[in-house]
Amino acid sequence: MITLKLFASLAETHGWRERERTWVAGTRVIDLWCAETGQSGLPARVLCARNMDYCPPETPVFPGDEIAFFPPVTGGSHAR
């Protein structure tokens, strides 16, 4: 299993904060975003983290991972 999390405005927009999904071999972080939101890509102002570390959207996902998506932190911009 993998755990997905949304924070702040993204959680409000999509109406959920946490859910679990079955892991599929070859899945990347960006694939999870697209599958859960129906969008074709990750918007420029959405950041992602794998196991609580910022990561690029192309990062591979493994069983037991926690993947989070959130807007830029309020303190300012964060290049991903």
């Binding site: 999390k5 102002r45 609580m52 989070a68 959130f70 807007p71 932190v73 309020t74 964060h78």
Partner: protein, 151 residues
């Protein structure tokens, strides 16, 4: 080098005094203490702000605060650091963040305190939602910390 994320209000100067006493006691090994206190404003972007809710990513936030302090401790000769950050519902005038650095000399204390604060603002996952008379809004940016030439 403790970091703390708290839902309850805290009194920053009492925290400085109690932590200093707990860590150093009566010893005189530190010659410089730099303190930054961030307080909630009652205005932003021309609007009166009645309060705000600060959301964080439990676990990731603490980890990043610890990394930021460890990085500063590797860059300057620090004796101790303390970071306390509020989350949840916050009212104007309440402390949001406290950063304290103890060092033997002032240059390291000043510079490390500044750097920890700026790194916190740009890296630690916190999100502000302001309460206005007309409703709520997520804050999407922040006032500049360093001059534009350095940021």
């Amino acid at each position: 080098m403790p970091v703390s994320v708290r839902a309850a209000p805290f009194e920053p100067y009492a925290e400085v005094a109690s932590h200093q006493h707990a860590v150093f006691g009566a010893s005189g090994q530190f010659g410089a203490t730099a303190v930054f206190v961030g307080t909630m404003r009652d205005f932003n972007e021309g609007d009166s702000v009645q309060g705000m809710t600060l959301e964080h990513y439990p676990g990731m936030t603490e980890r990043h605060l610890e990394t930021i302090c460890a990085t500063a401790s590797g860059q300057w000769p620090l004796l101790e650091t303390l970071v306390i950050h509020r989350v949840g519902d916050i009212s104007p005038g309440e402390a949001i963040v406290l950063v304290v650095v103890w060092s033997a000399h002032r240059q390291a204390a000043f510079e490390a305190c500044r750097e920890i604060m700026e790194a916190l603002k740009s890296q630690a996952p916190f999100w502000k939602k302001e309460r206005l008379a007309t409703g709520t809004r997520w804050v999407t940016g922040n006032t500049a910390g360093y001059p534009a030439s350095k940021s």
